[in-house]
Symmetry: C2
Subunit: 379 residues, 2 copies
């Protein structure tokens, strides 16, 4: 059952947020949504962290926009794997994103103009600090779990390192402890497409009444290829031709071209170019082992949470091998870790899709989390 | 030993060349180079076909440009795997390319203006027909071998199908009988980057005195990622930072960014955008099984050559699996096939690089080809 109509909320933070780049964000807002009910001892809260192009809108729909279904609605809701009849679930739009929290489109109070490209390049750790302040304001001292897929999984992992006492469980899906050179390379292609689009105007395109549509479109197309598996693309599109014949021109020949261009066009109408740039940087920069001479095991030495990790066999963006690295580093610290490698054909995108084994894995894990909470409540 | 100074030659073809798109090229020139000496019975000629961004300049250097070494100079030369002391080797710049043969930059005799985007979208089969006419003019009725890597391998394969009596051996390296949806997707990203660059001007950028540099740059960057293996990129660049610290901006942080942008910049200064578009289309369209209901075995039924196929374990652009498909289809036709899967770390680019096992494989194969020729000569 879907959770139905939901409403986003805005919280204002007047205290400056120190950032990893050495500056601070003087004043900011966070857009967030909550589902379910916080219990009396505030022990049933689960924070769901979002990936590149998602938002605080994790589940449900809006009264005035019934087609806008939350990005993890299949996972989060009454009776679902993350059951909102039991848990109080929070989704937060990250700083620098373009769905309501303070970001490049917002007015910089210091200049009276939009931040544009001058918005600080925020990091996963900065987001986690901002999320922690939100938790404080909601009176949540410890999350039952912090959870995310892909970039969202990086945030969950950062929580376990930065605030070890503030989460009981850390759920990291289709993620990685750091990007590879190839991952960074794809991100840089996307950024270069945006940065060199004449309509980008050095990030001040808002003042020119345009958006770098062509750059965003190419960025999304190349990103999208890395979200799908080769097999899945072959299965869905193969070499199918839209008209049945080669066109001998540069319009659409193959269905895969039509699909990718459509995805690129759609994305370029709603996503902010400066946000795309800074979120890909947050991905590139994430590397908790960096402060420990590259030793991931040392980086995780202070964690206290229990971990659930999951990866997908056909995910070539963040392959199972990356999750196994994490598992090994956690096990070497004697952390309690469950790990599942799920045989699914849908590549990186699998973490967003329905798959019986995947959904069951999460359902059973959260039943265990719930049992712990219930036991403590009754104790 | 390098073959030393070489000179390109130009041949004019006044007879119209019928093309697969239904039109014809009225009049054209082919730029080509030859190395070694054609023997008396003209049985020692080897045609080397080039891939996307290469040319007729296979080996040696030019008198006035001693740094411009041929793209397969490590393979072709006196005493090398393809030994020019024995074989007469020919490299031909394909139609539509931008290194001397008739292409988009050339004047369309019908309009008196550069072809630009109106240059016909030529195919692998069209190239083979043009190469066959060149062979006729050189008096070569049968090649000892036709050979190529990647897109060049597709041409060699097409030779074996279209002109089965005109080659004794077909050498197909790091190639595929057809592109996958993912391959096409990457090509379309590259094309969209070029087509949407305002400096492309619908293909008539020559008249505007500009080139769509940004589009070409992104196209090359994305292409280049697919030429390298993930492991190789990790080994060469990893997460190395140019300055040792994160910059928190959109300049260069990682060495891999610096490398890719440099490759993109360099490429955009010498490669023609219209050529990039049409050569990627030739790649996408190649699919000899298409006329046989997708049955590759049937497509190869008329072939008579002996085959050498080679693939590289870390090539994820045209993986060993694609070569194995070809091997199976040839074996089902009872063709004589040698196949090697070479364990090399360099991804698709491995076909251009030195590797002892690879070079030995080719050396021994050409020794066998040479032994056959010598036996017939003495017979």
């Amino acid at each position: 059952m879907s959770i139905g109509i939901v409403s986003p909320q805005l919280m204002h933070f007047p205290e400056p947020l120190p950032l990893k780049n050495g500056t601070a964000l003087a004043d900011y807002v966070l857009m967030y949504e909550t589902y379910g009910t916080l219990n009396a001892d505030k022990s049933n809260a689960v924070l769901v962290c979002h990936a590149l192009n998602a938002s605080h809108h994790v589940a449900g729909v809006y009264q005035d926009d019934p087609d806008n279904v939350g990005w993890w609605d299949n996972m989060v809701g009454p009776g679902k794997s993350l059951d909102t009849d039991k848990f109080f679930v929070i989704g937060v739009n990250n700083l620098g994103s373009c769905f309501g929290s303070t970001g490049p489109m917002h007015t910089n109070p210091a200049t009276g103009k939009p931040y544009g490209a001058s918005f600080p390049v925020v990091t996963v750790e900065d987001w986690v600090n901002a999320q922690a302040r939100l938790a404080d304001r909601l009176g949540i001292a410890q999350f039952a779990a912090v959870m995310g897929g892909s970039l969202g999984g990086m945030q969950a992992l950062a929580w376990s390192i930065m605030y070890p006492d503030c989460l009981r469980h850390c759920v990291v899906i289709a993620s990685t402890p750091k990007l590879s050179a190839q991952n960074i390379a794809f991100n840089d292609v996307a950024r270069q497409a945006i940065l060199t689009d004449p309509d980008y105007h050095g990030g001040d395109f808002y003042a020119h009444g345009v958006v770098p549509k062509n750059g965003l479109r190419v960025a999304r197309m190349v990103g999208h290829i890395t979200y799908l598996s080769d097999d899945d693309m072959a299965e869905k599109f193969g070499r199918d031709l839209r008209s049945g014949e080669y066109q001998f021109g540069y319009g659409v020949d193959f269905e895969i071209e039509s699909y990718l261009r459509y995805q690129g066009d759609k994305f370029s109408t709603y996503f902010d170019a400066n946000t795309y740039l800074l979120i890909t940087k947050a991905l590139d920069y994430f590397d908790p082992a960096r402060d420990f001479g590259g030793d991931l095991s040392k980086a995780l030495a202070g964690t206290k949470a229990q971990f659930l990790l999951a990866s997908f066999t056909t995910d070539w963006r963040f392959s199972p091998e990356r999750s196994r690295e994490l598992v090994q580093a956690l096990v070497s610290n004697k952390r309690r870790v469950s790990y599942a490698e799920i045989d699914a054909p849908h590549g990186h995108d699998a973490f967003l899709l329905d798959d019986a084994r995947y959904m069951t894995l999460l359902r059973e894990y959260y039943q265990r989390v719930w049992a712990e909470i219930a036991m403590e409540e009754s104790a």
